[in-house]
């Protein structure tokens, strides 16, 4: 019984996994993205037009999507 997976582990010793946003900055990034989403959403709410839907809605949705993921990680629910 050899240990091929242990060799795989040893071979990858130079590339430990690093997340895009570290644990220390998850709250900042998540908070900024959520504020952005809130502001863009607010502007859209004041001026609901078809053209504003992609111009404000898409960036606001993206900011909310990523912001929500980072915020839930920042409060300790690591998804």
């Amino acid at each position: 019984m050899s240990s091929p997976l242990l060799d795989v582990w040893d071979a990858a010793s130079n590339s430990p996994y690093q997340p895009t946003v570290g644990k220390g900055s998850q709250f900042t990034v998540g908070f900024l993205l959520l504020v952005t989403a809130f502001l863009l959403g607010g502007v859209f709410g004041l001026n609901r037009s078809f053209i504003n839907l992609p111009i404000l809605g898409i960036p606001a949705s993206l900011a909310f999507g990523f912001g929500a993921v980072y915020m839930i990680c920042a409060v300790g629910v690591y998804v």
């Binding site: 019984m1 990858a12 999507g65």
Partner: protein
């Protein structure tokens, strides 16, 4: 007549289904059934055998060093090790190595047995290279036996010393004839009030057994013991420590790529198998003696060493947070000191959960070949106690990120089951890929055995969570726009 019995057995099988209560006290072992006329072929003999039983801990640890010799005319590679069926279900962590090449991997071992009515079952040891005729090889067989020690007397007072009895065969059970053998018993102290004496005629050197040397008892040497021979003996010795037994340990390891975190959670169902209390528990007596810290049969504290870098530990039970715990982070090792809500005396139970986080970068590496990852975690952590702890069942779940595929794993811990399934939790749409591994009859010596898991995780799968939330949010915006642009006014439409 036969059809009637068949019919009744069908009814019995169906009724047991209807009253579906899973009895996990009998471990689920996978095994190969042999015909009831099976007898291991007498192709080996044990030239010399030394068995050492170590009773230092709360479970017996057996080490059998045996020189086996092929007495057949053909090369042989299958060595059978017999156990009584009731004993076999409590034997754990059986490993066989070549004594002369101990650093090499252990041999392949599997359980084989007769039909359910037979009282003898076998471990089948596959030698990696067949042994030539007249060839010899030294095997080192190690295993532990769970729930094997019985307190005698079964009831003691709160501050009494506890005595345990262990019954075993002075002749090592073997499927082959043994030329020369000896059984050594290492006891935790020299306080051994009772033990079985064997007559001098049995001994090869005509000495009365056991021969005592400090806290070590030796039975034998015995010459020319035929296969299957047993000579039951008992020792009763002082062991005023808890017999900590975990009926189930559930251990979850959750990997989060987004959070760069690995979360561990362990749920224990503990029981002390030691002597029960004769009278009621006296808190006053307990508190008075606690300053002197005497040896006690009660479980007072569990010390759980964690790997360095452990963060955010918690210790809760059915009631809630247990505040009597300490966490000492350190550079080499972090130590979690847990005090249960009450001292756990013999027959008492306590279930609780502990959990902690750690940075994922210490456990996960990215492979150079595309989007694959390799995870290296300890299979078992748990308390490190001087008296040890035994686990009759360990269910380990490795919860990988959602969308991970091609999961492969490797561990040196003997497993009985492994499955891959989906586990749904926060912000999941499909569910996370989960590797479930089951092992039975483990002891704390299996701490820090590695479990290595590799999986593929494409970056598109990683974006599933934010994209799902994004789409949901965009749907809200679109709905707002649609609802806002509806004209719900009464009367004619105004034309401005």
């Amino acid at each position: 007549m036969r059809s009637i019995s068949f019919f009744t057995s069908c009814i019995a099988a169906l009724s047991s289904l209807a009253a579906a209560e899973l009895n996990l006290s009998q471990p689920l072992l996978s095994k190969q059934l042999l015909a009831s006329t099976f007898k291991p072929p007498q192709v080996f003999k044990n030239a010399n055998l030394v068995r050492t039983t170590n009773l230092d801990k709360g479970y017996p640890r057996e080490t059998i060093n045996v020189i086996i010799e092929n007495i057949d005319s053909k090369p042989q590679s299958e060595y059978y090790l017999p156990f009584e069926s009731s004993l076999l279900s409590r034997v754990g962590g059986l490993e066989v190595k070549d004594k002369k090449a101990a650093s090499k991997d252990s041999f392949k071992v599997e359980v084989v047995g007769y039909d359910a009515e037979s009282s003898t079952e076998f471990y089948l040891i596959h030698l990696p290279e067949p042994l030539e005729p007249k060839g010899q090889q030294t095997l080192s067989i190690t295993y532990s036996v769970l729930s094997a020690l019985s307190p005698v007397p079964a009831q003691i007072s709160q501050s009494d010393e506890q005595y345990l009895q262990y019954t075993f065969s002075a002749y090592t059970p073997s499927a082959y004839n043994t030329d020369k053998q000896k059984t050594k018993v290492k006891l935790p102290s020299s306080d051994v009030p009772d033990y079985t004496k064997l007559p001098a005629e049995l001994n090869a050197e005509k000495k009365a057994d056991p021969q005592k040397q400090g806290s070590t008892f030796t039975y034998g040497p015995f010459d020319n013991i035929p296969s299957g021979a047993e000579e039951l003996v008992s020792v009763r010795y002082e062991f005023t420590k808890p017999l900590t037994h975990a009926s189930v340990l559930e251990r979850d390891i959750e990997v989060s790529h987004w959070g760069g975190n690995i979360a561990f959670e362990e749920r224990y169902w503990l029981q002390n198998l030691g002597a029960q209390l004769k009278n009621h528990f006296s808190r006053v007596e307990w508190q008075k003696s606690s300053y002197m810290n005497p040896a006690s049969s009660a479980l007072k504290e569990l010390r759980v060493p964690l790997q360095a870098g452990a963060l955010n530990p918690y210790f809760t039970d059915d009631i809630g947070n247990v505040s009597t715990s300490r966490f000492r982070p350190g550079k080499k090792e972090a130590l979690l000191e847990l005090k249960p809500r009450y001292p756990i005396f013999g027959g008492w139970k306590y279930s609780f959960r502990v959990g902690w986080d750690a940075d994922l970068s210490n456990y996960l590496r990215k492979l150079s070949t595309g989007e694959s990852y390799v995870l290296n975690v300890p299979f078992l952590e748990g308390p490190r106690q001087p008296e040890g702890i035994e686990y009759s069942r360990v269910n380990l779940r490795v919860i990988l990120p959602e969308g991970a595929t091609n999961v492969r794993f490797q561990t040196s811990v003997p497993l009985v089951d492994s499955t891959t399934s989906l586990h749904k939790t926060f912000l999941d749409t499909l569910g996370r890929t989960t590797l479930s591994l089951t092992a039975i009859n483990l002891v704390d010596e299996f701490r820090d055995r590695e479990l290595i898991v590799t999986y593929d995780y494409p970056w598109t799968a990683g974006f599933r969570k934010p994209i799902v939330i994004t789409l949901g949010m965009f749907a809200v915006f679109a709905a707002t726009w649609v609802v806002g642009s509806l004209d719900t006014s009464i009367g004619k439409k105004k034309t401005v």
